[in-house]
């Protein structure tokens, strides 16, 4: 176990301020915590082997979950920046061995008021009969400005399950480009969910691409983007039904609030097999009036009611 205690306390204060749960620091629940390009905490999880290397601008990680590993508690990682830095790059590879069942809870924390560009590239391989959930939680301050470019490329093996959830529900999004790709093998399942809120002049671009290559494979791509003020947001969901009896669905429901908001949803559905089926639904609109009035009839002001509805959608 490697812990730089004083550094952890200093970073903890800044990350808790932007919304990270305090108990993560109080109980030092991290398996890996990185501030810019420095490893602050490293603590192995059972059945999970990892290599982490500091680079001039960030870290490179390789994680291997041994076959058959089943963990009840999530593996907790945090890649953040407590101070302004020009660029932070994280590069990673995660292999989840055959029959394993694990969850990774990954926190991206950018302290209040800082500016930086964060580049992330991740390769994921979920082997046969394995189950992997990747919860990517982002916390930025209201005065933080982050330019985030993240690309995940996943392979989902036979009868395997991969779920990736990207959430940024408080603070500013900044300028964000998220690309998630999956190639799904026979009877495999890929689920991509993105839940974000954009404020002021934030720019959000989300692209989900799922190739259903194996027979009876399944894919779901779901986005919930709340765009406020002058936010520009685009969601592109592409699902390719390339194999017999595969099933895909794209579900985007975006909410706009503010007259200068621009939101675009682009579902792309391609089917190359007559027994495959891919569907989509897209809705962009303001907050549902009846929901708003119902909460106001219980005594909430309009702003309070909007907050409750939005946080529910982003849950």
């Amino acid at each position: 176990m490697e812990v730089k205690k004083n550094l952890l306390d200093t970073i903890g204060k800044k990350f808790v301020q932007v919304g990270l749960p305090r108990e993560l620091f109080e109980k030092n629940r991290f398996n890996l915590l990185v501030d810019r390009n420095k490893i602050v905490v490293r603590y192995p999880a059972p059945g999970v082997r990892s290599e982490v290397i500091e680079t001039p601008t960030g870290v490179k990680t390789k994680v291997y979950v041994e076959p058959g590993t089943k963990l009840e508690e999530p593996v907790i990682l945090c890649f953040g920046a407590a101070e302004t830095t020009e660029v932070q790059t994280t590069e990673g590879e995660i292999i989840v061995g055959e029959g394993a069942d694990v969850k990774f809870q990954v926190y991206g924390a950018m302290a209040e008021g800082i500016k930086l560009k964060h580049e992330n590239k991740l390769k994921v391989r979920v082997e046969k009969n394995a189950r992997f959930e990747f919860l990517d939680l982002h916390y930025n301050g209201e005065e933080t400005f982050v330019e985030l470019e993240t690309e995940t490329d996943a392979y989902v093996g036979e009868n395997a399950y991969f779920r990736s959830i990207f959430k940024q529900t408080r603070g500013r999004a900044g300028r964000v480009r998220i690309v998630l790709k999956a190639n799904v093998d026979k009877k495999g399942v890929a689920v991509f969910e993105t839940k974000m809120i954009g404020k002021k002049d934030d720019e959000i671009y989300v692209e989900d691409v799922i190739h259903l290559n194996g027979e009876e494979s399944r894919g779901i791509s779901k986005s919930r983007i709340i765009a406020v003020d002058e936010t520009k947001a685009t969601f592109v969901g592409e699902t390719y039904g390339n194999a017999p009896k595969c099933r895909g669905h794209i579900d985007c429901s975006e909410v706009i609030r503010g007259k200068d908001v621009v939101v675009k949803a682009v579902p792309v559905v391609v089917v190359n097999d007559e027994t495959a089926k891919v569907t989509h639904e897209a809705a962009i609109g303001s907050i549902d009036k009846k929901q708003l009035e119902t909460l106001m009839a219980r005594g909430l002001t309009e702003d309070e009611a909007v907050d409750v509805i939005v946080q529910g959608m982003l849950r």
Binding site: Q291, E293, M296, A297, R298, G299, V308, Q311, G312, R315
Partner: protein, 244 residues
């Protein structure tokens, strides 16, 4: 007589069309008051004006007074803070909000709030606390949760718009009992309905037709009038009974 809600000569015209044509109504504190009438009578419009929903913050003419406060022009939440609320005929669904959270939001100013008890009073057990108030609830369950939220809030006046709609006959008795419980807990109930069976639980009833009050009296008298007069009228004057 202790009026809690007074509707004085309320008129409402929308796009040049008169919807309410001088409605007078008094609801006394502690009573269950039913408003009966055929579709298109203006019942739900009156309920919307009382709560200020659907952009109906004030009537074209007349006044709506709750206790001694004029409601005309007030925001929805201001009316709620005074002690008025409304349960919708077809309540809203909320993604990502649990029944427990919804009840706690509704009852956040009720120091004696007990969400489990509120659920039990509407015939739902505590397993519903973790359910989402979304499409996964059936129509009947959602309706019960809505009534539970009124019990949680414990307002002085609850306007219930068609609490019996979408409810099967067996559950009607349950709904009637829930409304009585509301009253026992200090809430005056103004209930909009077009079914005289449910109106029978009221202390008094008012019959509306074509944007006007026709009669106020005992539920039996008013129900009888509704059955004899309005049903025939619907046949004779189908233009009076359009959707609301």
């Amino acid at each position: 007589m202790n009026p809690i809600l007074t509707v004085n000569s309320v008129k409402l015209t929308i796009n040049g069309k008169p919807i309410l044509k001088g409605v007078d109504l008094v609801v006394n504190k502690g009573e269950i008051h039913a408003i009966l009438g055929p579709n298109g009578a203006g019942k739900s419009t009156l309920a919307a004006l009382i709560m200020g929903i659907n952009d109906l913050k004030e009537p074209t003419d007349g006044e709506i007074i709750f206790r001694d406060k004029l409601l005309n022009g007030l925001e929805i939440y201001e009316r709620a803070k005074l002690g008025v609320t409304l349960a919708w005929q077809d309540p809203a669904r909320f993604e990502g909000i649990t029944v427990e959270e919804y009840l706690k939001l509704s009852g956040r100013n009720n120091p004696e709030l007990d969400v489990v008890e509120c659920l039990e009073l509407v015939g739902l057990d505590c397993n519903y606390l973790n359910r989402f108030v979304d499409e996964t609830l059936s129509g009947g369950e959602r309706k019960r949760v809505e009534l539970a939220s009124i019990l949680a809030m414990r307002p002085e006046l609850a306007v219930l718009d068609e609490p019996d709609s979408g409810i099967d006959f067996v559950s009607m008795e349950d709904i009637a009992n829930m409304i009585k419980t509301m009253r026992e807990r200090g809430t005056t109930v103004l209930m909009i309905t077009h079914r005289e069976e449910i109106a029978e639980i009221a202390d008094r009833a008012t019959l509306m037709c074509d944007g006007k009050v026709v009669q106020t009296g005992s539920p039996k008298e008013v129900g009888q009038k509704f059955k004899t007069m309005c049903v025939k009228c619907e046949v004779r004057n189908p233009e009076l009974v359009g959707g609301e």
